[in-house]
């Protein structure tokens, strides 16, 4: 089985891109399944089901979605093997733009869109910088100049990545992406022992544990204070 991780900020078009890519993979008789990770809500699983794609949905609820991802990836890979998939795609929304659920040796895709503004590549951390393939969507609604500026910004934060424009509505570019995702020779039966490409953000303070009161008296653990630039600092 092959494994690909797809991530990207919410509503950039990850699901549309994956659906179009799977359409192209089906033409080559490649059997694909999807695991959708999200935080509070998603009905994307219905879209996958409609397209006859085996799917499971994982909602992290009160947990950090990417921590949830990494604690479940091994089980998810087992599920994929049981379903006899040729290719398993995981999809997750990087909610704080700092996380990256990328694993060493596993193809990783970051999906971002042209509408998010030219400073976005600077704001997204390892999720963009550590990706193997960067997919840029919504290129059909911004000007060619903005597409080029955006692309050059992406290139300067991740020069090694393959960058592609994909139209999630017409599917233009999706076939091309699909050719980069499946390698017959690759066979992944487990990810236990594999390593994340980048440590996830640390979070362990009283608020992670359910504290709701505000004030220094209630703050414990990993707490950091904003720098206000007062003279005595």
């Amino acid at each position: 089985m092959n494994l690909v991780t797809v991530s990207g900020p919410p509503s950039t078009g990850k699901t549309s891109v994956i659906l179009k890519v799977i359409e192209a993979l089906k033409l080559r008789d490649i059997f694909v399944g999807v695991v959708k990770f999200d935080c509070l809500y998603t009905d994307d699983d219905i879209l996958y089901e409609k397209a006859n794609i085996p799917v499971i949905k994982g909602l992290s609820g009160s947990l950090c979605p990417d921590h949830y991802f990494v604690s479940n990836i091994e089980e998810v890979v087992k599920w994929g093997r049981k379903k006899k998939l040729d290719l398993l795609i995981t999809e997750s929304a990087g909610l704080c733009n700092r996380c990256s659920p990328y694993i060493d040796g596993i193809t990783s895709i970051c999906v971002i869109d042209n509408l998010s503004g030219v400073n976005t590549p600077k704001k997204i951390g390892p999720m963009l910088k550590a990706a193997d393939i960067v997919v840029i969507t919504k290129g059909d609604i911004v000007s060619q100049a903005e597409r080029e500026v955006f692309l050059s910004r992406v290139n300067s934060v991740n020069p090694k990545a393959t960058t592609m424009h994909i139209n999630g509505l017409t599917g233009q570019g999706a076939y091309e992406l699909s050719t980069l995702l499946y390698d017959e020779k690759q066979d992944i039966d487990r990810v236990q022992g594999n390593r994340l490409r980048f440590p996830m953000p640390s979070a362990l303070c009283s608020y992670c544990l359910g504290e709701i009161r505000i004030g220094e008296d209630y703050q414990m653990g990993n707490v950091r204070k904003i720098k206000l630039g007062d003279e005595d600092e």
Binding site: K122, V142, Q144, V149, S152, N155, Q172, F198
Partner: protein, 351 residues
Amino acid sequence: MNNMLYNISIRELLQKYPFTLGYFEENRLDVKGFEGNTFIEYLNHFTQEEVEEWAIDREKIIKDLLEYIDKMMDFLGLEDNHNVESLTIIAGRDKDGNPEKFREININKSQIVSIVGPTGSGKSRLLADIEWAARRDTPTGRAILINGEIPDTKWRFSSNNKLVAQLSQNMNFVMDLTVEEFLKLHAQSRMVGNIDKVVQEIIKAGNNLAGEEFQLDTNITSLSGGQSRALMIADTAILSSSPIVLIDEIENAGIDRKKALELLISSDKIVLIATHDPILALMADKRIVIKNGGIDRVIETSEEEKKVLRELEKMDRIIQNMRNDLRNGLSIDNEKLTKQILVPGTNLLTY
């Protein structure tokens, strides 16, 4: 080159490769105060806490910087070698697997080809084949040649050298900038030497296409539809690195479409235009008819059609003039119209 980051100071690095400043900025590496140090020394000054805090991956930054310098040098040095003289489409098959009814289509630079066919007939697929420089490895089985040869894979993967620029009907400006700021931003990303001159050139060309003039300090989001289109076309013609331009209709309002196409081909672009507007379709040297996912026919624009085009252009001009009159607050009178469309002293139409 690897040693360079260990041996030479950041100041020297910036002198040698001025564009690395862009890399520092985009990656939020504030090198101020470290100009005299090497880049490695600079990276080593971060504390463990800062490394975690800002998600700094030293090894990756080093690898990426070297890759970036490599790519930029490639991009700056090879600009001239990227000349695309011709594009050739070699026949594949339609949706049902039937071979397409042509052998190959050859398009030279400064030529216009129109693409016609009903929605869903496979125009997007043809455009994608060209964009991807297909090698019989897409569902249509078509192959694309550049300058008569199988193109370098750099056209597929490089982010500085995309083969195709696109202008589609529903494109909008989304940045909140003035025309000048916007063009400068684009020029910077393209590493243009004389930015001010290029900006002036684009404004002039843009205004030459637009019905209404716009200024450097106009906000791009407040441009009219015609002005936006004019600015996009002028910018693509002059600043875009892509040798092939795909256009998805140019609507009739507020822009001189003939001049727009002339501007693009005068910049040595290959222009492909998907349109059902007779004026645009006939302006092309040939047109590709798409049916059921395949290219059904290739029609050379005949002398007869060129004649029809000239008549259509006359009609178009009459409507344009009327539009200008309306814009300038004049009233429309029948006499003026008659003067334009009837041969004097007769009731024969001039077209």
